[in-house]
């Protein structure tokens, strides 16, 4: 359990195939693991290490550096409230306080029913729409305390299940590259020559070199005349 399911293993192999070095896929694979289990389990990290051909310690090292990866279970809905400067000016901190009081937890913790986790977050890039928050990385702009209560009620009743997937799912639309349309993944050691289209430069460069040589020759003639 908690290793990749057969379906996810297929997805994982597809992700791995897009990178010249397998280790590059570690972050996307960690996201896939989080999507599967809601958080990143130790087994998943061991599985990723095997797939990416690195040590499990390297995967843990990468995983724990990034804020979005949770190594312990979190709520079904992770609520990020922005309290950075633009939102702070317009009530981001008050919004966070209101949420803490409503859900009766401190930011950084999860409600007893495992439904909500609140986080005091850094800039969410919706600064002109302050105060803003995200639920499972889906935006809510210029949100008032009453609207927050409404959103919480809707999340509890399952009304928003279509709009907001469970924690861990980022992309409901995935990139898929059809095999016949793939230009090719270029590992550094396999490529020595310039790509094909760069040969189009040759006539231009030749013409430029010729023009330069002609200019030089004309200059030389001018100089001779001056002498």
């Amino acid at each position: 359990m908690a290793r990749f399911t057969p379906e996810n293993l297929v997805l994982a192999q597809e992700i791995l195939s897009r990178y010249p070095r397998k280790k590059s896929a570690v972050i996307p694979l960690l996201h896939l693991a989080q999507e599967q289990d809601g958080y990143v389990t130790n087994d998943a990290m061991a599985n990723i290490a095997e797939l990416a051909e690195v040590t499990a310690a390297e995967v843990i090292g990468t995983c724990t550096f990034y804020e979005m990866f949770k190594t312990h279970p979190v709520g079904k809905y992770v609520i990020n409230v922005c309290t950075n400067i633009s939102c702070q000016l317009l009530g981001g901190e008050e919004l966070l306080e209101h949420l803490e009081e409503t859900l009766e937890i401190r930011s950084g913790s999860t409600t007893a029913d495992g439904l909500f986790t609140i986080e005091d977050y850094e800039c969410l890039a919706a600064c002109t729409e302050a105060p803003c928050m995200q639920v499972n990385y889906r935006y809510f702009h210029r949100i008032s305390n009453d609207e927050v209560d409404e959103v919480i009620a809707d999340l509890r009743s399952g009304k928003l299940a279509d709009t907001i997937p469970d924690h861990g799912t980022l992309q409901r639309v995935r990139q898929t590259i059809p095999a016949d349309k793939l230009a090719g993944v270029h590992a550094p050691e396999t490529v020595v020559d310039a790509p094909a289209w760069m040969s189009r430069n040759e006539p231009v460069l030749a013409a430029r070199a010729a023009a330069e040589a002609a200019a030089k020759a004309a200059e030389a003639v001018e100089e001779k005349k001056a002498d």
Binding site: F69, T128, R138, V173, K181
Partner: protein, 464 residues
């Protein structure tokens, strides 16, 4: 198709009067689809580029003086020229890890017009002979990821990306890669580390910049989303047309995000060097004045890393050079406006706390310094400050970024200049960025700090 029922299309973008280069499609509800893109001239720039030799495309971009929109403002055409000749393969990494507080132009560009960005990537790849393109999108931007994924799928289907694009010998893959929440990854070398599956810690540079040694040790071009989004327009209309907008040293338009205490905060596209901060804040075409017509106290001109500006600097034009000469930077085009009700200590603490949280921990002056800055500021704000705390703050700041730096506007006021651009004892500019709010706030609002520090009288010591 991915949508968010709670947030309207292109929320925050204000369609004001003026030339539009990158945001022209934002007004359409379906601006992110291939259909709309093709109907409004999408991929025309790529077709135009494919009729030229790669070097001619590069020359066009160089003569357009397209300045990098990520923060440093370095001309993209010149940056492209730093790649060592004959070292293959080369890669393109698109920096979509937008997390600078106050900034949100790239998110709009990725959510509302992903095809424009993809086209820009393809033009860059064609011009330089880049083998593969990685589109690094910030992890928190789920909608942007979905939109780009959908757009890439459409583009692959239409033979606009991938093998033999539009039936030519030009083949390149664009791969969507996404981060996982780390501000430092916006630094180009940290971005490359992260893309290699490592912790996002910056690499030492100089001597080797990514253009020489980057992803997998190969020459790598790292460009901001907005920079690349300009390329299709330049290809269609030419560098000469592009230079008709903006000023001579900063041609073109830019997206500016103005947030905080103004009547109509939003993202505005406007010409560089022509519009001033004052136009942005008070102009009818822009923010329409301060909220409640309050007095302007201070503003951040270019994201949290930039030293603050005050009312006497509102008439500066939105252009990198004059803003730099006045002792700050235009950075990522994020302007945060604060009115008289703002507590300078609180604002300073919040910005410093951001840097303390986001420090990657590689360099000691930044890891320890930013944490101490936050600790000391926190106790001043909470009313537990000690005499000498402000001097200590400046001393910590000086250890991360030794100053002072001559030539700033502060000298006119008889104040010591703010060290900007910062000298640094760290590998990347994150640590020195934390110094900017402290030096700005302390030098201007010293009285606010002092008022928060309790004045203690000495307790007489009695012999027992």
């Amino acid at each position: 198709m991915a949508t968010n029922a709670y947030v309207p299309h292109a929320a925050g973008y204000v369609d004001n009067e003026g030339p539009k280069i990158v945001s022209s499609r934002f007004v359409h509800e379906d601006s992110y689809t291939l259909e709309r893109s093709l109907a409004t001239g999408g991929y025309e720039g790529l077709k135009r580029a494919l009729t030229k030799a790669p070097i001619e495309v590069h020359d066009e971009v160089r003569s357009a003086v397209l300045l990098g929109r990520g923060g440093a403002g370095f001309p993209a055409g010149i940056k492209w020229g730093f790649c060592p000749p004959g070292k293959w393969p080369m890669y393109l990494v698109v920096n979509g890890d937008e997390s600078e507080p106050g900034t949100y132009k790239d998110r709009l560009l990725m959510e509302c017009d992903p095809h424009q960005l993809i086209e820009g990537c393809l033009i860059a790849c064609y011009a330089l002979g880049l083998s593969q393109c990685f589109l690094y999108v910030r992890g928190e931007m789920a909608l942007a990821q979905e939109r780009i994924a959908a757009a890439l799928n459409e583009a692959y289907e239409a033979n606009l990306v991938g093998k033999n694009i539009l039936g030519t010998d030009f083949s390149v893959d664009v791969v969507l890669h996404w981060g996982a929440g780390a501000y430092i990854v916006g630094e180009e070398t940290a971005l490359i580390e992260s893309l290699e599956g490592e912790r996002g810690m910056p690499r030492l540079k100089p001597p080797f910049f990514p253009a020489a040694i980057g992803l997998y040790g190969q020459p790598t071009i790292v460009n901001n989303v907005e920079t690349l989004a300009n390329l299709p327009w330049i290809m269609v209309n030419g560098a000469e047309e592009y230079k008709k907008f903006g000023s001579e040293t900063s041609p073109g338009t830019r997206l500016f995000a103005i947030s905080g205490h103004v009547k109509r905060p939003g993202v505005y596209e406007t010409e560089q060097g022509v519009t001033t901060f004052s136009d942005l804040i008070y102009g009818d075409n822009f923010c329409q004045g301060m909220r409640g017509d309050d007095e302007l106290k201070m503003f951040i001109p270019g994201g949290a890393s930039a030293p603050w500006f005050f009312p006497e600097q509102v008439d500066l034009p939105l252009e990198a050079r004059p803003v730099g000469a006045a002792g700050s930077m235009l950075g990522s085009g994020a302007i945060v406006i604060m009115d008289a009700s703002t507590d300078a200590v609180k604002a300073c603490l919040r910005v410093v706390r951001f840097f303390a949280r986001e420090s990657c921990g590689k360099c000691t002056p930044c890891r320890e310094g930013t944490t101490w800055e936050e600790t000391v500021l926190r106790r001043i704000y909470d009313g537990h400050g000690r005499p000498g705390d402000v001097e200590m703050l400046l001393d910590i700041a000086d250890n991360i970024s030794p100053g002072p730096y001559p030539g700033a506007a502060w000298e006119a006021e008889g104040l010591e200049a703010i060290p900007f651009p910062p000298k640094q004892t760290t590998i990347c500019p994150l640590g020195p960025s934390s110094v900017a709010p402290i030096t700005s706030a302390v030098r201007r609002f010293r009285h606010e700090f002092d008022a928060k520090i309790p004045q203690r009288t000495s307790i007489p010591v009695t012999a027992s």
